[in-house]
């Protein structure tokens, strides 16, 4: 018998069942962004919506155990920094006609597309953090 933290028992039970599938779907959309429709923005939105659902059904302090303000700022800042550095390197070498040494791989595999997969992951992290962060800031006053 699990301890129920929120008020609504139906919402809690459904959320417990459905939340892992939402997270897996979001991660799948992000990782397959260069093969199938999807990408960082849509996958990050799904992840953020899952976090919001979890925080709404249970107490928001449950999320703070693994996702607080420190991790929030660090995740967003380092993702943006990584994006800028990686794509800046790619553009500089491309403009100067130097080989950038980024392997493209065979199209259709997961590990292909050069920088598209890491950039998708960075965008997904940023969007998920921001969707959940705006909800937590407006609802609770703190992340």
């Amino acid at each position: 018998m699990k301890k129920i933290i929120g008020d609504d028992e139906i919402l809690n039970t459904i959320t417990e069942i459905i939340t892992p599938f939402i997270f897996v779907l979001g991660i799948y959309i992000i990782l397959n962004g260069h093969i199938s429709p999807g990408g960082g923005f849509s996958g990050g939105t799904v992840l953020g919506a899952g976090l919001i659902l979890y925080g709404e059904a249970f107490n928001i302090h449950e999320i703070r155990k693994l996702f607080d303000f420190n991790i929030f700022t660090k995740a967003i800042s380092f993702s943006l920094l990584f994006y800028g550095c990686a794509k800046g390197y790619s553009f500089i070498t491309g403009a100067a006609n130097i080989d950038s040494n980024i392997p493209l791989g065979t199209p259709g595999k997961i590990l292909s597309g050069g920088l598209i997969l890491p950039l998708n992951i960075a965008i997904g992290i940023i969007v998920a953090c921001i969707i959940y962060g705006l909800y937590a800031l407006f609802y609770e006053g703190d992340i």
């Binding site: 967003i76 794509k87 050069g114 598209i116 960075a122 965008i123 940023i126 969007v127 962060g133």
Partner: protein, 106 residues
């Protein structure tokens, strides 16, 4: 005081009319709709469709465009989201009691 407000309103009306005139003149210089020599119909679209897979390595052509050819546009979108959230953090966030005490003790 009353005269000042009148001057300001007259000046703003003149400014607005001038900007409207400039913008309407610019509209008259736009190319004709559907003309085959328009700058939007050029070799960029064909290049994206024909050589996209070979140059970016992505089957999803939209991902190839927004994250490879036009990656700085996406970077701008991400920076815009980041700036909006930092603004909300600066306005809405209530720091915890411990954080304020730490700052006061320093």
């Amino acid at each position: 005081m009353n005269k000042k407000i009148n001057l300001y309103s007259v000046f703003s009306v003149i400014c607005t009319i001038g900007i409207i005139g400039i913008l309407l003149m610019t509209v008259s210089y736009l190319p004709e709709f559907g003309c085959p020599k328009n700058p939007s119909i050029n070799e960029v679209t064909e290049r994206y469709i024909e050589k996209g897979v070979e140059e970016t390595g992505a089957i999803n052509i939209v991902a190839g465009m927004i994250l490879d050819y036009r990656a700085f546009d996406t970077f701008g979108e991400a920076v815009m989201l980041f700036t909006a959230t930092i603004g909300v953090v600066a306005l809405m966030r209530k720091p915890k009691v411990g954080e304020i005490d730490e700052k006061d003790n320093r």
